[in-house]
């Protein structure tokens, strides 16, 4: 078997993974880094991010505001010490990206420009037109090419972690091109594999967002935190689920129901201003409310029959026509491109049909503020991790920032922690590697005629949407848990059509679906046990927030049976839980 060795191994080469790799180089240029990715780095889903990246840089803004927006946006489930670090380190990290060539949109003075975003009381979102993630990812990747310390393993799929003597010491990875297994050894492993929106049927997430990294950590005994919190973005294109960025509302776009009414005014999100009023759009109000509230408002409108009815389900309209062609082309050109290519409408002359779509997964691998997990040597950063700064609802444009702030933190910490540690040798490691080889060999050797991956995936998607969608209750969640238990058994009966070792993408899908069912179970059980409503987790049978019992992170542990759900206190420093107030009545920092 092929074996390689590095000081730090990073699984995932999206925004978080690339930033972590360069942080290791900065911390100690003598370390060697292995960077594993199941796709070429520039294909990572960070590439799809559109709207922008939040950090306090302008004089009219202050750290306290960004902290307050993030905490209230999270419905008080974020750890406040982590949020403070996040906000403090964000500007420096974004300037670093600027120095690495990111083509930020600019003011005439040459300073970076900022735009308003949902749930933020002051405009602080840096952007590169509406292809921010694309530019950030390419700038990071291209910059990383100059560091010879980084060895890339492109199109290698990590299948399991190696642990020995109580610490994580590497992973087993499958090389797509050859079908061979590799043992990649390191003193520290950082998981940066992104989110898992693909467990749902209708999502903005690309096909690679299957949550593999969560399964890796979960199976190594690490808890998955706050899994029940899944963000629906209010504006996806029906059918494809392609995202129409929040920046379209930041620039002044409005949402209309089938009566032509800006219905958000009926959901405690403030009073609408005329679209030509210079004060429109108002921060933290109406269309710039937080995503959880906007998506929930859609559901109520739908129930009341005030949505349009379309081939791919009900929808409302996102209207940007009043911005005019010039503004649309300079600020949100990608929106125009996507809407005309995929919905066949030109936003300059027609409103865009939109509906809520699964977008972001707040939950993930439990880490501390350094990205460290409870398993020594194992770190996580980016969307796969849960520090948590996002709590029950992430604010738009905080995620890209999280990638670089916590990617860098994890990289730096891993670099200092590994110095001079010897790697373990011996039978325990051999046993784990052999077990992994056997698992994959058994899967490939199964006789034809078993379960089809796509059918299981469809069933998983249906179960998740029906049981753990925007609104949930005990009955729907219990049914979901039961279906998932069956799916777990069916996954063991999957058989493959593809027998080739070379680029066997079906084998990869089989390994992915195996992990997806596992982490979905953590999600459904955590949601079932949280008998309150908070942020994106809305229980129709427990409609109120319950701070007395649930101002806590859920912690899901893997067992041979159902996941075990535990709780951990939220860190509160200076911002005691309060009501989330949006709309014009809200003062600065909630005061």
């Amino acid at each position: 078997m092929n074996e390689s060795q590095h000081d730090v191994l990073i699984i995932g080469a999206g925004g978080a993974g690339l930033r972590a790799a360069m942080a290791v180089v900065e911390a100690n240029p003598d370390l060697s880094i292995g960077l594993v990715s199941k796709v070429y780095p520039m294909r990572s889903h960070t590439v799809a991010a559109e709207g922008g990246m939040a950090a306090v840089i302008k004089d009219n803004d202050a750290r306290e505001h960004h902290i307050y927006d993030t905490i209230s946006g999270s419905d008080w489930l974020a750890d406040q010490d982590a949020v403070e670090m996040f906000v403090d380190e964000a500007p420096r990290e974004l300037i670093q990206l600027e120095h690495w060539g990111c083509p930020w949109s600019r003011e005439d003075s040459g300073h970076v420009a900022v735009r308003p975003f949902g749930g933020m009381q002051i405009e602080r979102t840096w952007y590169a037109a509406d292809k921010t993630g694309f530019h950030v990812l390419h700038a990071l990747f291209q910059t990383s090419l100059q560091f010879s310390q980084i060895t890339r393993y492109d199109e290698y799929f990590a299948t399991s972690l190696i642990t020995a003597d109580g610490r994580c010491q590497g992973c087993v990875a499958l090389e797509l091109r050859t079908g061979e297994l590799h043992v990649l050894r390191a003193n520290a492993v950082i998981i940066c594999t992104g989110g898992f929106g693909r467990i749902f049927p209708f999502t903005t997430n690309g096909s690679i967002k299957t949550g593999d990294g969560l399964a890796l950590a979960y199976r190594a005994g690490v808890a998955l935190k706050d899994m029940e919190f899944v963000q629906y973005h209010p504006t996806g294109l029906p059918g494809t689920g392609i995202l129409i960025t929040e920046a379209s509302r930041g620039e002044g776009g409005i949402l209309l129901n089938n009566e032509g009414r800006r219905y958000l005014q009926d959901y405690d999100l403030g009073e609408p201003l005329d679209v030509h009023d210079p004060r429109h759009p108002q921060n933290r109000a109406m269309e710039l409310g937080p995503r959880d509230r906007l998506s929930q408002a859609f559901m109520h409108e739908q129930a009341a029959g005030r949505t349009f009815d379309g081939e791919y389900g009900d929808y409302v309209q996102l209207d940007v026509r009043h911005l005019g062609e010039e503004r649309i082309d300079s600020r949100i050109p990608f929106v125009r491109e996507l809407a005309s290519n995929y919905a066949g409408i030109d936003p300059v002359v027609e409103p865009i049909p939109v509906r809520p779509v699964v977008h972001y997964t707040m939950g993930g691998i439990d880490t501390d503020v350094h990205g460290a997990t409870t398993l020594p040597g194992l770190y996580a950063a980016g969307e796969c991790a849960c520090v948590s700064i996002n709590g029950a609802n992430r604010l738009g444009s905080n995620s890209l920032t999280e990638l670089v702030v916590f990617g860098a933190r994890a990289g730096r910490h891993a670099a200092t922690a590994v110095a001079g540690q010897p790697l373990s040798d011996g039978p325990e490691i051999d046993r784990q590697v052999a077990a992994e080889r056997d698992r994959i060999a058994e899967l490939r050797a199964r006789p034809a005629g078993g379960e089809r991956i796509a059918v299981i995936r469809d069933d998983l998607n249906t179960a998740m949407e029906a049981g753990a969608g925007i609104f949930r209750d005990e009955a729907s969640l219990s049914a979901c848990c039961a279906t998932l238990r069956e799916l777990e058994e069916r996954v063991a009966r999957i058989s493959l059509d593809d027998t080739s070792p070379v680029y066997n993408t079906e084998l990869i899908s089989a390994l992915e679906i195996d992990g997806m069912v596992d982490i979905s179970r953590a999600l459904a059980h955590a949601a079932l046990d949280r008998t309150e409503s908070r942020g994106s987790h809305q229980r129709t049978d427990y409609a109120a927030r319950d701070d007395a019992n649930y101002l806590k992170h859920s912690m899901a542990y893997r067992t041979d049976g159902d996941p075990r759900i535990d709780y951990k206190d939220v860190v509160i420093t200076r911002w005691p839980p309060a009501d989330r107030v949006y709309g014009s009545s809200a003062g600065k920092d909630g005061k």
Binding site: M42, Q96, V502, Y503
Partner: protein
Amino acid sequence: MSDTTIQLEVFRYRPDNGGPTFQSYEVPYHDDWVVLDALNYVKNYIDGSLSFRWSCRMGVCGSCGMQVNGEPALTCAAFVRDHMPGPIRVEPLVNFPVERDLVVDINGFMEKLDHVKPYLVRDDEADDLSAEYLQTPTQLDRYKQFSMCINCMLCYAACPVIGRVDEFIGPAALALAQRYNLDSRDQGKNMRQDVIFQNEGIWECTFVGECSEVCPKHVDPAGAIQQAKLEGAVDYYKRLLTPWARRS
């Protein structure tokens, strides 16, 4: 759901099992399906052994480029309806070695990207992170277009020079070099020029513009190549006429 179907003729190649062939599949027709949806239908419900790359399905990750009826295209942006009544012939991108079915070897391309040193090069000693470098919208506009490349390699498939001259660094990589050369924050142009003109291919490019024609992101790599050639020629004569002027 309609009853109409469309025929796909898909290039199949398994290195461990004989030579290349075309295989036909019949898939349902939907007027909002892209070719990638049809391929996924095949993989999901007809033949799981069909291998191809994709991820974003929104034309931005750059992984799903293939030949669709002979022309290089992003399969997630090529609508089935534009090829009715069919059949639609899907092949791997030309000018690249084929690893398996619709998957090509892109390592050569990745090395070319690396060669042009695609990052900001600065003379300053330490990186001062207290403030951003200033850049006006006009300065941004100079290179913006060349920064839009998604590395989909359609331009390499369209380029007749790449097919014959292996070392030709090619449209996307040259556009990338130009992207950094034109960036007001960069000071590494001389270094990049050396790489660009070391290899022969660039002079074989006769300004045919096929690369710009197929580029889904309007990067206009042909423009970048011609600009680079113009600058290269000017540099060359400058050096020839003023041999005493050492280049920094």
